[in-house]
Amino acid sequence: MSEEMIGAGGISLEDRERLELSGIDLSEETRSGSFLQTDQTIHHSSCTSKGIEMLPIDVAMKKYDWLKSHYWNLVDKDKDEYTRYVAEQEPRGFVIIAKKGSKNIFPLQTCLFLKNDGIQTVHNIIIAEEGAELHLITGCASSHTIQKGSHYGVTETYVGKNALVSMTMIHTWGENVNVYPRSATRVEGGGTFLSNYVSMKPVGSVQMYPVAELTAPGAVARFNSVVVAPKGSHLDLGQRAILSAPNTSAELISRAITQGGTIVARSHIIGAAAGTKGHIECKGLILEDGTIHAVPEIEGRVKNTELSHEAAVGKIARAEIEYLMARGLNEEEATATIIRGFLDVRIQGLPESLQRQIDAVIDAAEDGF
């Protein structure tokens, strides 16, 4: 596939850069499928990977009657004003169905682009059937010209028995954009759900609290988030894992840096069955006066659950900077090198190509420190 995705032609050069920063490959060369929605218009939806289908949600709902049971199933339509608003609109967004045993080597990409002022709504359903392995990168960006915009997104993810879903979401919104994702995931026995969230650029506000429920033995969830809040940005981010079945486990990791903005890093693990394990790790760096409010919560409900958390917020230790200066780096280089290391979260189970994509996004931001 060397041709660009349909609809990309209408995107300006500046905005293309913003999409690339969000991990979107408009040439599609390194992707096995693409979806592009600009504002409320779906331009493109295709997938070349065998056994994996990606369709606009309205098309998918007509094609598969059984999808109704997956629609507004994990996320409550009446959860809040944002879900209600999404429910009132003509459905937009995508459905991905990875058939039993299918696997995509190159990730699928979905691009949600906010070009004009207004509210963009999406409702996505992701289904990985038994034994399937599905890797998805979602790049969300707004045009550099936007004055005021919002994005309300509902995502319901079903990870089947022994299936693996990795979802990497990279945000490149603008200072005047407010974002309210509403996501929930159900993981069946032996299934693995990996969620990565990266936001390095200014944003008006983001508020989300994705949840994964592990419903049968052997299920695993890992949430990672790497966020930077420049002045004026307000990110209220949560990640929640409900360990409902025996021998399930979850790891919630976050790295937060404020350059004057506000980050509330919430995490919550509920150990509700025997043999469950959960760990929360939340680290924050304050580079300029701003707020990092870490709220790690571990909630055990049975005897045989093992939950732990560690949280630390502070500045870079002088001893670390001087250690690198003794090797010849100047203070700025030393600081940037330490910050880059701080943001380096290796994600177990993530394909190398996606890890490199995340690395590239973080590297691009490094110059700003």
């Binding site: 001087e322 250690y323 003794a326 090797r327 010849g328 780096l329 100047n330 203070e331 330490i338 290391g341």
Partner: protein
């Protein structure tokens, strides 16, 4: 190479080093001995240019440059290097990544030295995170080999190192200090803090200094000073010098 003149150093407004004079010529290796708390590490860290060490009087001249008030990284760029006794752990920063930066992306060189120091498996690990005593020294040594300083300061290179590693560390230090070269071709210099003197089994030192209470009490043959400390203890040794 290095000339220290009438150096007075304070830490948190308290004078720790008094009137230090020290001259290390090109190609020379000196050994610094003395009881705990005598100011040995303070002297090394002051020469390296760390903050929190306030030079209240005197000067440090390195390769003809007055570096008394020059920032830390400039010392390194002039050709100084240091092996830390207790280096900090830097979470997330991979050893290999730092070496890549200090080696100016010369991957082959990093690999070569990493192999020599048995550190290939550590390149993808966070710097100093859960490293054992010997691993810390090997990591420090590897960083110095990549850096190739003209003047290297080593803060107790043998402490916490098992017998197997000490020969590797000792031989690498000897190589770093060009001990394998003839004296006329040897330009690199060193200043080594040692309590035990084990390191002298691997390299010859040209001069020894005994530091006590922030003053250099004695200069001379390093093995003789060490022998007299071992036989008589520090206090007797100092008394002897005062006579």
């Amino acid at each position: 190479m290095l000339q220290i003149e009438d150096l007075h150093v304070s830490v948190k407004d308290k004078e720790v080093l008094h009137d230090i004079n020290l001259r290390i010529n090109d190609g020379e290796t000196h050994v610094l001995m003395g009881p705990n708390g005598s100011g040995k590490t303070t002297l090394l860290r002051t020469v390296m240019g760390f903050s929190n060490y306030e030079i209240t009087a005197g000067s440090i001249i390195f390769k003809g440059h007055d570096i008394t008030n020059v920032p830390l990284h400039e010392h390194a760029r002039y050709g100084m290097g240091m092996m830390f006794q207790r280096p900090p752990t830097i979470s997330g920063l991979k050893l290999g990544k730092l070496l890549d930066v200090t080696a100016h992306h010369d991957t082959a060189m990093v690999q070569k030295y990493a192999k020599q120091m048995n550190m290939v498996d550590f390149l993808e690990r966070d710097i100093n995170a859960d490293f054992s005593g010997g691993e810390i020294k090997r990591s420090e040594m590897l960083q110095l080999m990549v850096q190739q300083p003209d003047f290297v300061m080593l803060d107790e290179p043998e402490s916490g190192v098992d017998l197997e590693n000490i020969s590797l560390i000792g031989e690498s230090i000897a190589k770093l200090l060009e001990k394998d070269r003839k004296i006329v071709n040897r330009h690199k210099s060193g200043l080594i803090i040692t309590h035990t003197g084990y390191i002298l089994d691997y390299l010859d030192a040209d001069m020894g200094h005994m530091l006590c209470d922030g003053e250099i009490k004695c200069d001379g043959n390093p093995r003789e000073i060490l022998k007299s400390i071992k036989e008589k203890g520090y206090q007797e040794c100092i008394k002897c010098q005062k006579k």
